[in-house]
């Protein structure tokens, strides 16, 4: 009864405040008023049984609940009668346990129990009162949390009190259990207690306050709702897929006699039915069958039926999502709209299905629904603020779990981040079935995490996105890497250069076929704003389209001036492009530029350019062969390595992108400066034939971005020295691969307008010289061949610094180019 508070009269979606100011309100008593007045009147005459049982007012009245209705009304009556008994004063100081109140009961009426249980109504009443009065978030607070809330509600004339079930549990777990197991009864008592408190605080307050419970300790999966949950309080998570239109439900009907014009008393809905008076009640009239419903004097409440569906991550493999209906009343109507992810708390109810409307016989079936008490939109912004289109990414959905799960998840991620080898582990987890290419994967990892975008007050902005270009032979799994990154990245767009036009990548203006209006349509780059735009076959792209990329890659915007639309769209996207060498295979005798026909201006906008060359390395081939044989003939599960699964990886990346904003530490800044200066100085290396521009401002920006990304990988708020060092290493590895002039075996900065070590070139030249000398000494012209390893040993003996196999190979390649030696796999022959 107490809960029957809907203040909406006309069934429309008008807010309660509107209705209060409306003239109708003066004419007709507000429903809550009417109800409470009646309640008080009746309780004063000690005939509490006349009040409608709570179930029929608060929850959709149907006589088809599986529990026999007779018992329900009895229950309701008892609960109602309990009100005057459990006066708050008597139990005010009782210890905080619902059993503790027993002592008081002797003085009062005999104890009443909720039907079929040993739960005493008085106990529950007292426990609720204690909870409301004494619960405090923090012991230091003077007034209880809910007392404040009640005062607030009284002030704003609200109608519901949100009660955090965690609070109830923390204060009195026994009450919590009772509430979850017998929600109908306990909530009825809850509402009564609230009413009493309200009228005590503000005697003239005549609206009803409903308790809306939310945030239960456990949330049930929709799939696991079973008959034992019926009539229990449950909390389910899901996605709203459909909302019905708002159904006005009659609550109180008024009839008028057609003959004498007499208006009947309001007739309250009883178990879903209105008993139409068969005759006029006025003594003078008493006409039969003359009563007609007066629609605009009846009281209606809003009702809406909402279908909730499981979120994709809860669906087991090979299953389809389950759905459940939610019944929303009053304020909850239109609280959610299709597509929203929500957590609904309510009472799981079942209703039997009749064979026909006129028959009492029921089919043995039940329809189930949840009588919704509280609807909470699951906050999407927690992890995916940057990635509102996360929906496509199934693995990302897990992050939207309830706070508890979310916290757990975050803890797990943080735990993961603490591992010393997290950088290596993530590298391993990235495309685990692509072999080798560790440095490329590290670069891609940095791209995924990204640096910090910076916007200065002056309006200048620095991008945080890292652009990567992969150049390499066909069949070196470049495309697979691209696909993988595309799957991982929050908002990836995958496109092929061959089919992309400039407008397709950026934005274009079209005429809407129906209205004739010009519309701006976003292209791939704009669509992947804050994501990664993967462009395959970059070399096949038309020059026109490529030139569009200049702006995007540095300014991060797309400007359009066309058909009367002048716009600048954000395209804060990282570009991951891959290109094949122009002559299908990479020609080591040509420069990078000649191999990939890309303008240097565009190339310089890539932070990292990797050359993925197919090295004729037997070791790699054998690993590949082993892997594939194992894939086909062994239990594939046994192949699992120590890698993070893709969902964890995604969560890790999105958490880092969202929450970690690393800043340069002084030490790191110093190192950056030092490294940069050194790079510049190398260009002026004395003795180098020409002065080369080795490093530009672009390089230092790249380095900063890379080191920030590296700090992010560790979930570190500070960019440390080692991050900067690793960033230098990554940049050098990438440059060494791409900026090596293969005709001389040296890195030549002029290949790409930016550069790296002229000292490296010196080193190489020295090595080349040393190698040449050794070969001259040790090997005869046209004599027997020498093994590569022997040569390496020899070199190591002679030179003081470290000599790598790769350096040697490069040197030999140069020598071979000069026609000095012939290299056959592992063996070298002088000619």
């Amino acid at each position: 009864m107490a809960s029957d508070s809907s203040p909406i009269h006309n069934g429309g979606p008008s807010s309660p405040d509107d209705s209060y100011s409306s003239p109708i309100d003066n004419t007709f008593s507000s429903p809550g008023d009417a109800n409470s007045r009646r309640r008080r009147r009746r309780s004063s005459t000690a005939s509490g049984y006349a009040t409608p049982p709570p179930q029929h007012s608060r929850f959709a009245a149907t006589d088809a609940t599986p529990t026999p209705s007779s018992t329900q009304s009895r229950r309701g009556r008892r609960a109602a009668r309990a009100t005057p008994v459990a006066t708050p004063t008597s139990t005010d100081e009782a210890p905080p346990s619902s059993e503790g109140g027993e002592g008081d009961e002797h003085d009062e009426a005999p104890p009443m129990f909720v039907w079929g249980t040993n739960i005493s109504v008085q106990d529950v009443n007292a426990a609720i009162l204690r909870f409301l009065r004494h619960f405090r978030d923090h012991p230091s607070q003077a007034e209880g949390k809910y007392m404040r809330a009640i005062h607030h509600i009284l002030e704003v004339e609200g109608e519901s009190l949100d009660v955090d079930a965690h609070d109830v549990f923390d204060y009195d777990s026994d009450l919590y259990n009772k509430m979850v197991r017998y929600p109908l009864e306990v909530l009825a008592i809850f509402d009564i207690v609230l009413m009493d408190m309200a009228s005590r605080i503000k005697p003239l307050f005549e609206k009803h306050i409903q308790a809306r419970i939310f945030n239960l300790k456990t949330s049930t999966s929709m799939r696991n709702l079973n008959p034992s949950d019926i009539e229990k309080m449950v909390s389910v998570k899901g996605m709203i897929i459909r909302c019905s239109s708002i159904i006005p439900e009659i609550r109180e009907a008024i009839f008028r006699c057609l003959i004498c014009g007499y208006y009947s008393d309001p007739i309250v809905v009883d178990r879903g039915r209105i008993n139409e008076p068969t005759r006029c009640e006025r003594q003078e009239c008493l006409a039969k069958n003359s009563m007609t419903l007066v629609h605009n004097r009846c009281r209606f409440a809003d009702k809406q039926i909402v279908r909730l569906q499981e979120t994709p991550d809860e669906i087991p493999e090979g299953g389809t999502p389950h759905t459940v209906s939610l019944l929303m009343h009053d304020k909850l109507v239109d609280a959610g709209k299709p597509g929203d992810r929500v957590e609904a708390t309510g009472i799981y109810r079942a209703m039997s299905v009749r064979v026909g409307p006129t028959q009492r016989t029921v089919k043995s079936l039940f329809k189930t629904y949840i009588d919704c008490l509280h609807l909470k939109k699951t906050d999407k912004s927690r992890m995916q603020a940057e990635d509102p289109m996360e929906l496509e990414n199934g693995s990302g959905d897990k992050d939207e779990d309830a706070p508890l799960d979310y916290q757990d998840k975050v803890e797990q991620l943080k735990e993961l981040a603490k591992q010393p080898d997290i950088y290596e582990r993530l590298t391993r987890s990235l495309a685990p079935n692509i072999w080798e290419l560790d440095d490329v994967k590290k670069g891609l990892l940095c791209q995924l995490f990204g640096g910090n975008a910076l916007k200065l007050l002056s309006g200048a902005s620095f991008r945080g996105d890292i652009n990567i270009l992969l150049v390499g032979d066909p069949g070196t799994s470049k495309s697979q890497l691209l696909q993988y990154i595309h799957k991982l990245s929050p908002r990836g767009i995958y496109t092929s250069g061959r089919g992309s036009s400039a407008v397709g990548l950026t934005a274009y203006v079209t005429k809407d076929p129906e209205t004739g209006e010009t519309v701006l349509e976003s292209g791939a780059l704009v669509l992947s704003d804050r994501g990664i735009c993967c462009i395959d076959e970059f070399d096949k792209m038309s020059d026109n389209a490529r030139s569009m990329l200049h702006e995007v890659m540095e300014q991060q915007t797309v400007s359009i001036a066309k058909a009367g639309i002048i716009a600048s769209l954000n395209a804060r996207t990282s570009v991951l492009a891959c290109a094949n060498p122009s002559g299908s295979r990479y020609n080591p005798r040509l420069s990078v530029i000649d191999n990939i026909h890309l303008p240097p201006t565009l190339l310089s906008r890539f932070d990292l350019i990797y050359l993925i060359l197919d090295k004729a390395d037997e070791q790699t081939d054998r690993r590949l062969a082993k892997h594939i044989v194992a894939l086909h003939f062994e239990n594939p599960e046994s192949l699992e390595q120590d890698v993070l699964d893709i969902s964890t990886l995604t969560a890790y990346v999105s958490y880092a992108r969202r929450h970690i904003r690393p800043e340069l530490s002084d030490e790191a800044a110093e190192e950056l400066t030092r490294g940069y200066v050194e790079m510049r100085r190398r260009g002026n290396f004395p003795g180098s034939s020409k002065k080369v521009i080795t490093a530009t401002a672009r390089q230092i920006e790249s380095l900063i971005r890379l080191s920030e990304a590296l700090a992010r990988i560790r979930f570190s708020q500070w960019v440390e020295k080692r991050d900067v060092e690793e960033a230098f290493r990554l940049l050098e590895v990438a440059l060494q691969q791409s900026a090596t002039d293969h005709s001389t075996g040296t890195i030549d900065m002029d290949l790409i307008t930016t550069g790296v070590s002229a000292s490296e070139r010196m080193r190489r030249e020295n090595l080349l010289l040393a190698t040449r000398n050794i070969i001259m000494e040790k090997m005869q012209l046209g004599g027997s061949s020498t093994r590569l390893l022997e040569l390496l040993e020899e070199l190591k003996k002679q030179s003081s610094g470290e000599v790598h196999m790769n350096d040697l190979r490069n040197a030999l390649a140069t020598l071979a180019g000069e026609g000095f030696v012939v290299v056959h796999g592992d063996s070298i022959k002088r000619i």
């Binding site: 026909g356 028959q359 039940f366 590949l624 044989v629």
Partner: protein, 591 residues
């Protein structure tokens, strides 16, 4: 009553009730029956399998649906097309002092007083359809038995009804519990005066029922299967099952559904509203069994497949395919391997074991000749086949992926909702230059995903759900298909046009058996052989740098299939050599 078991065929519910009563009288609390069986399933299991009752159970299909008595035992073969969630029902209730059960029925067998004690149980609803793309020859056997059965039924019809009448009368006094289950006129006598007037009248008007049954489309009789006491993981979407259970079909119930009150309408506004009992028969399942492709063959499996026998069948099949393919032996070899392929495992996104085949070099004319012939041949060989003529119009208009319709709360099936082991032929020769709209682009993407990963994205409007599939894909095209990259690309070189003679059913059956059985052969590889293969792969890569992991993967898949095609479970060097030779011949053509 002890000695006389119920007629499990005609009155399965009687048997259910009998066992229930037995269990209750033996002192078990009915509440404990929630989610488990009390002996009824055992009874049916015994009847069906130990006593050979299975062959007597009629198979429900579009032809005989109107002849099968409601509440009798039927068998339904179908694919789980949609899952409609769980349904709560009054499993057991107290009628006076005795416990009754409603398990395996839709309608309460006894009036349930509102005060009676009830136990609510749950069951799962599955919407099943006949396996899509099923070839007619798999149904031939069913039709035969159905026809026989149907003949028996019609001839016995009057007589049978009579007997039931008697039985009902006989038992009426002794067992007050029996008469409801007859589902035929006698029960109305007693029930009419009581609480179930309209229902009983309806069932009494059995004779008028025939006119009310909607005509089922050929081969598209859906069935709503209600499954009891089952773990969720046992059943998956797109699995094919054999269900045995109680058949109910009440065209009359629908009349009332429309008028139910507003509230229940709102809440029950779900799939069931759109699947009224008048349109879709119900089956309360006792026993279900997952079916594989091989279950759709009707010759008794060859008991002892000797290597010699298998070799023989292989040779004859190869000959047959060579003839159909215009004497192109290489193509025939590839075709055999292709027809035996199957997804064996999934590692990350890679589906191991698939082998899609792209026959290139078709022209319009040769496609119409050889393509059609091949299509026919494949239809005759495999139980489930489907072919898609790939045109721009088709791509732009067809809905090939299943889609969730939230208005009806149903999964609307698409061309790509296929059972495991279905064969899909895509004819790309008809594709002309044209513009794809967004549907077309999406469809191409779906087809490509299916080719590459054997996965189909089901459209749930707010998100996509990836479903794994196992479909053999064959493509005819002029040049190498770039839209649909197949594992094996082979230029087709027919040299002669041979007339395709009709093979005897025996030969056909042997081939069918061969293809379906060898497909699921276990496979292993000895360590020495592994070493040899690895060496071969490394050497091949050293020699030709353009070979990648995809090529190796294909070789190994082919090796497995080659060895399976000889009925052997262990890869031998000989078969590996054959694969290499085949690959060499193929490369020659490509080059």
């Amino acid at each position: 009553m002890v000695g006389l078991p119920f007629d499990c065929l005609a009155n399965p519910l009687g048997a259910v009730r009998l066992t229930f009563e037995k269990a209750v009288t033996s002192g078990t609390d009915p509440a404990t029956f929630d989610g488990r069986d009390w002996g009824a399933i055992d009874l049916f299991r015994e009847f069906l399998f130990d006593k050979g009752g299975l062959s007597k159970v009629p198979i429900l299909d579009h032809e005989n649906v109107r002849w099968i008595e409601p509440n009798s035992l039927v068998r339904f073969r179908g694919m789980v097309q949609d899952m409609l969630g769980n349904e709560f029902y009054v499993g057991a209730f107290k009628d006076g002092s005795t416990w009754r059960t409603n398990k395996f029925t839709d309608v309460a067998s006894f009036p349930m007083g509102s005060s009676s004690e009830v136990k609510v149980w749950e069951r799962r609803l599955l919407y099943c359809i006949p396996v899509p793309a099923q070839n007619s020859w798999t149904q031939a056997i069913h039709s035969e038995t159905v026809v026989n059965r149907y003949k028996n039924q019609t001839s016995q019809h009057g007589e049978k009804r009579h007997r039931e009448d008697d039985a009902a009368v006989d038992h009426m006094d002794s067992t007050a519990s029996e008469h409801e289950f007859q589902g035929s006129p006698p029960l109305s006598k007693k029930m009419c005066e009581g609480t179930l007037p309209s229902w009983t009248q309806e069932s009494a008007s059995n004779s008028s029922k025939l006119s009310m049954i909607p005509d089922f489309d050929q081969s598209s009789l859906p069935c709503l299967v209600k499954i009891y006491d089952l773990l969720e993981s046992d059943l998956k979407l797109n699995d094919v099952f054999d269900f045995v259970g109680v058949f109910t079909f009440n065209p009359e119930l629908a009349v009332h559904m429309d008028e139910s009150d507003e509230f229940s309408n709102g809440v029950c506004e779900d799939a069931l509203v759109h699947l009224p009992p008048s349109k879709v028969p119900r089956l309360h399942c006792f026993i279900h069994r997952k079916l594989g492709v091989h279950d759709f063959l009707h010759s008794p499996p060859i008991t002892e497949p000797t290597p010699h026998l298998v070799r023989g069948i292989r040779e004859s099949l190869l000959g047959h395919l060579t003839a159909i393919l215009g004497n192109d032996g290489v193509a025939a070899h590839c075709m055999v391997l292709h027809l035996l392929s199957k997804v064996h495992a999934r590692v990350d996104t890679v589906a191991v074991g698939k082998l899609s085949l792209n026959l290139t070099g078709f022209t319009k004319e040769s496609a119409s000749i050889f393509g059609n012939q091949l299509n026919l041949a494949i239809q005759n060989l495999l139980p489930f086949t489907r072919s898609i003529p790939l045109t721009v119009e088709y791509l732009n208009s067809a809905s090939i992926a299943p889609r969730k319709d939230y208005q009806t709360d149903r999964l609307v099936t698409g061309v790509l909702q296929l059972a495991e082991g279905t064969h899909l032929t895509i004819d790309e020769t008809q594709l002309k230059a044209g513009t794809l709209n967004s549907i077309g682009v999406e469809n191409v993407r779906l087809l490509k995903n299916l080719m590459e990963w054997q996965k189909v994205d089901y459209d749930f409007e707010y998100y996509k759900m990836e479903m794994t599939s196992d479909v053999q894909i064959l493509i005819f095209s002029e040049g190498k298909s770039n839209i649909l990259p197949a594992d094996l690309v082979l230029p087709f070189r027919p040299s002669a046009m041979s007339s395709c003679e009709n093979k005897g059913t025996e030969v056909l059956q042997a081939w069918r058996w061969y293809l379906t059985t060898l497909r699921s052969m276990p496979h292993s590889i000895e360590p020495e052989m592994q070493k040899a293969i690895e060496d071969d792969l490394v050497a091949a890569r050293q020699a030709n740098r353009s070979l990648g992991s995809q090529d190796f993967s294909r070789w190994l898949a082919m090796a497995r299939l080659m060895s399976a095609s000889f009925g052997e479970s262990c890869l031998s060097l000989e078969h590996w050599q054959m694969v290499k030779e085949l690959e060499r011949q193929r490369r020659e053509r490509l080059g």
